[in-house]
């Protein structure tokens, strides 16, 4: 166990992350990269980009509150150190996605109002379920909620967005690549650390399973809102096809070409991928996946 925990060192984080894939970047992307001109010039595309980015800021603010709150609840020094690095990762994510809002033309003084206006209430409920466990200093439930459920969701959402953005918005795609790399460590910690702790605390399982079911429901409700309430869908699709790089290569994710999918198909693909991942990850650490209600 001692050797296993020693992997969670600040030195490893420094060499992999700030001195590794983040070296030479500014807010997670190449210093010269910019948002596509069409996104900045067209109100519809800009508004859609702001709406999507606000959800990322909300999710990352939750992750920041959760990981920092779990530092003092961790049962060992190595886990505290890992969660300290994760706290910095999450703070960086909050910063880079907030910076994207500024890049999209949101004024500094209007940032909080913009976030309040666009934040999906279902995503806020999702965060509240997790933060309640963190507030109670429940380390095992907190890490499952944060590093398996929240991070598992973020991992798939970021991967899908990154695949969709790769050709049409390299700046945002690069920003997402760095967050995906961070998420790998976070889900790894969730599984590896909790995999051993859950065996020591089997009495925690029913409560954790209830939490996963509830968080999964609010996650699906968030997806439903985003994909089903797309006003001016056809116009957005047409505008996107005018973006430089569109169609130069298929936006492949999970074997599907994202640019060819209807919103309902995209919602189903994302929801199924995330839930399947939850089931597999939870099964590996001995927790029985609970099927959530479908909104």
């Amino acid at each position: 166990m001692a050797d296993f925990l020693s992997m969670y060192s600040i030195q490893h984080w420094l060499e992999s992350c700030p001195q590794g894939y983040l070296a030479g970047t500014a807010y997670g992307h190449g210093p010269d990269e910019r948002e596509p001109a069409l996104v900045l010039e067209n109100d519809l595309l800009r508004e859609q980009a702001i709406g999507a980015t606000v959800q990322l800021v909300v999710g990352e603010r939750c992750a920041l509150a959760a990981s920092s709150g779990l530092v003092n609840a961790a049962p060992d020094e190595a886990s505290k150190r890992f969660l300290a690095t994760q706290t910095l990762d999450e703070a960086r994510h909050v910063e880079i996605f907030s910076q994207r809002l500024l890049d999209l033309g949101v004024k500094k003084g209007e940032m909080e109002d913009t976030i309040r206006e666009h934040a999906n209430p279902n995503l806020v409920r999702f965060a509240e379920v997790l933060l309640e466990k963190v507030d109670r200093k429940d380390f095992v439930a907190g890490v499952v909620g944060q590093n398996i459920v929240l991070e598992g969701m973020a991992f798939s959402v970021f991967e899908m967005m990154q695949a969709a953005m790769q050709e049409v918005n390299p700046k945002f795609a690069h920003t997402l690549s760095g967050t995906i790399a961070d998420e790998r460590r976070h889900v790894g910690f969730g599984e590896n650390r909790i995999g051993s702790l859950i065996a020591e605390h089997p009495e925690k399982k029913p409560e954790i399973e209830r939490m996963q079911k509830e968080m999964s429901y609010w996650m699906l409700a968030t997806f439903a809102d985003r994909f089903r309430n797309l006003s001016a869908r056809e116009e957005i699709r047409k505008l996107r096809s005018e973006l430089s790089g569109y169609g130069s290569a298929p936006a492949k994710w999970q074997g599907a070409d994202l640019s060819a999918l209807e919103p309902a198909e995209m919602e189903r693909l994302l929801a199924d991928t995330v839930l399947k991942e939850f089931k597999t990850r939870l099964g590996r650490i001995g927790i029985e996946y609970q099927t959530p209600a479908r909104p």
Binding site: Y8, E15, R185, F189, N192, G255
Partner: protein, 96 residues
């Protein structure tokens, strides 16, 4: 001496592989050639490769992998054991 044709596959000498650099940059430079990103489900795995079930990165070895081998996924810090899946392919399982 055992006839080489009768020798079990697991006893045969392992193939060796020269690992070229990949564009994987999520670990310190000296370890980067041991990992690569998987380009979708259709991306074939070599006999020296296995997918990390936790973070989906492909782990690469300088020698052919076999059942029972232990591998380490540095990007997500998972310790893994190579097992044979039901379909006969090799896959990695997490060792907690």
């Amino acid at each position: 001496m055992v006839d080489p044709l009768e020798r079990k596959a697991d006893e045969a000498p392992r193939q060796r592989f020269l690992l070229e650099e990949t564009d994987f940059d999520e670990v310190p430079p000296k370890y980067r050639r041991f990992y690569r990103r998987r380009k979708g489900p259709g991306d074939p795995l070599g006999p020296n490769e296995v997918v990390c079930p936790v973070c989906k990165v492909v782990i690469r070895s300088t020698r052919e992998l076999r059942e029972g081998d232990r591998v380490y996924c540095m990007p997500c810090m998972s310790r893994l054991v190579v097992v044979r899946a039901d379909d006969g392919t090799l896959e990695a399982r997490v060792a907690y």
